[in-house]
Symmetry: D3
């Protein structure tokens, strides 16, 4: 009987049996499908796609943006992100924590690099005329993603609507309307 | 001339000069002022209030809730939180990361304990008839707090309203209205 | 056949199967039984009581003190402790490491907070007239406890009595007498 | 008088004064100059080029290869590397530690991703007909680079030639000849 | 004006100015003076003696024992210790944490190696006929030492004697007598 | 059925079943066999020889040198090394990373201590008239060893000889000759 041992939730392999394919992933040259509500697509290469990354403290992703596509506000609970623009023109930003909540933002051109510190809410959007592409590095093999709108208004089951109404200072009907979209 | 050296942004003291007051804070027995829009108040004891916590990896806070007060959805980018109810009845919840976005929630009574894992969006609210009080421990001397509504709709300057409209799938007017509150 | 995988010696659960109860513990409102030689009782909430704490870097405990009860000198080999007084009046102290061995101590009232840095020998005692209660946070899910008197004079088997006689600069008979109590 | 405090050897900035440019670097779209002995050029974006990376645990680089250019055997003493091919065809490899010294290697095409675990000796070379470009992420803001040939045969002052002769099992004259090149 | 920056409380040096002497210490071949109450002497090589160890996570020490000398029960709050016997015959032991308090002990001969896990109370004593010598490695550049007897009975000011009497289950007079020795 | 769980690739044991032998290794007093091409022998005490070291962050080794024996240039990808000379006279050195590649070196006598920072290429050689012995501590239970010559010229399969020829700026025939030795 074989027992697969999980460290950090992923399988480990005997060091003597590792092969090149354990460290290999293919497909970051392919454009992601951006035909969705936000006009963007993330193609991740984390420990979920490439088990050989386990314990190595890094991962990578490609982000595609349709014209005016956005990567909506989100956080990575376990990673800093460093991004470079491969093609197009991308506005990026993150918001500092309480109490300042400063928006630190910039419009990036091809070859520009930007950092999103660990755990902060950040976003990107295509502000050019064609498609845009970014490659990012993340400081964890398992960075996690929390899309704010989905986690807050699309949780299953719902976060109570009156609580969200108070938190966002809107009418409960507005909350119901947003929740119905997610 | 005295040079104050900052490690992690806070002053360090010569180990031979430390006194009991360097490890001491007073006031967690006092009810926080909950006369505000959310009906709650956090009284933190982190490295900002108690410099002796620097490098020690822990902090504490008291949270007061008016009847039906809420501690709105927020994250701590650098800490797990463990909470115990000192008085009252508090509903607590957190949302798991993408793609599940499961709401893990529970109504807590006096003496109950609950955990909010590092970096996840979570909230609390008073669901009893009187005031409620919680004491929490946090796994960092500098946990940080990001109140989701404030960071997203109250950033200074504003996150572009059309981006938020797409992210939350609402009309730009709804975004403008929410942003005007923060 | 089910295989329970132990990371840090405790079971891990598939992230998709977690439920609110995995993050929940009940009973910190209950007074611990202080009818013992030291007149105090610790009610811990560590990974041993709440497996969901595994890898999360924090734990909590309630400490009850009968009038003049003590929590005898001890260390946590893997955690800093932060304490707040919920009820009563508690003298607390820790001793800095060699060569200074300074006693840093203070009498705490309700609402006061004190820190015991990682690995240092510390103690608490009730110096008020009634019972006393403290809530503490610890910077590890598995902080460990070493009660100095028990580890030194109550080890099984005994640490050689002549060695302890030299270490504590007392007669071997005194060591024998103390060892007989533990 | 201004005192610049160095943590990890680099300046830290007051969190309230940070600006977008503190998180920004420009120029990764530019081809590096590969007119050198090895036919490759690394353009790094580490804490040395972008001080805002300090403490954030990640960095990035672009590597350009002339046709048949190589990035000679080297290690990063403090980082794992994840690489993706932006253009061209690149053979990559790393050698496992003693006693196996297995060469794990693969020819990568555009869009392929490969991992070089922390501290292991690795190399890349252009095996296509035109130029090649790679973007890499590194799991430290200060990964360090040790080019094996330069460190061993180009140290200043020289490592004793008889020692190297024994280590590489060659005549001292061969060592002298190699040392004269570096 | 020169500003010495302290990281972890010790001076850091510009990496370009480091010299061999920054990584060098002399004197571990010299027998320590064991003419003292416990008949042993530790010669440490930590960051306090060798500043170049800062941030490097290791230190070393030599321990000399007169015949029947002891290294009394102590802990290192920040380090595991690995010991090898250079000369003589040494009994070593450590006590596991609560509630077991098992004594794990062994008599070591020349060339034997033993481990004392981080933060646990441990001791050594010469059980041979001549002097004994050990060399130890410690998993921190600043391991710290807490000699239990000195910290508990020799703190300045004293830990209250009635508290220690309860903790060690002895008469207050016995505590007074022990405290007078330290 | 017994399931052996591997954490970091090595077996963990139930804390209640540990015995003194789990923390014990014997044999560092024995001279290693130096009848080999480099005239030295390392006797390691890492988690591979002593499983009880797992997770404890330290290991130890003895190094024997025949007269004029060398420990050829190598790195430990996961550890700093601290060395003390037990017998003889040993020249030690390490090379700083790019771009300086400074050789930091020193001749050590009995009782001298030297540090080799994590991941840097370093070497030792006997420069006295008799045998030489060193004891070293390493800041990881699993430090790893990469002997540069073996990893570069003795990899299985070979690193392509034309690539090495370019890297070391020698003729391909010289590379072939060196590779044939390993």
């Amino acid at each position: 009987m074989e027992t697969v041992v999980l460290v950090n939730g992923f399988a480990c392999k005997d060091a003597k049996l590792v092969q090149a394919n354990d460290f290999f992933f293919s497909g970051l040259h392919l454009m992601g499908n951006t035909s969705n509500a936000v006009g963007s697509r993330v193609t991740p290469v984390t420990v979920a796609q490439l088990p050989g990354l386990n314990t190595l403290g890094i991962s990578m992703a490609r982000i595609d943006f349709a014209p005016w596509g956005i990567n909506p506000p989100h956080t990575h609970p376990r990673a800093t992100e460093i991004l470079t623009v491969i093609e197009g023109c991308i506005q990026v930003g993150f918001v500092t924590s309480n109490p300042e909540n400063h928006l630190i933002n910039k419009v990036l051109q091809k070859g520009d690099v930007f950092i999103f510190p660990k755990g902060l809410i950040h976003f990107q959007r295509n502000v050019g005329h064609g498609n845009a592409i970014a490659i990012v590095g993340l400081s964890s093999q398992n960075p996690g993603v929390i899309t704010v709108a989905n986690a807050v208004f699309g949780a299953k089951p719902d976060i109570p609507n009156d609580l969200l109404a108070k938190a966002f200072q809107v009418d409960v009907k507005v909350v119901d309307q947003i929740q119905s979209k997610f």
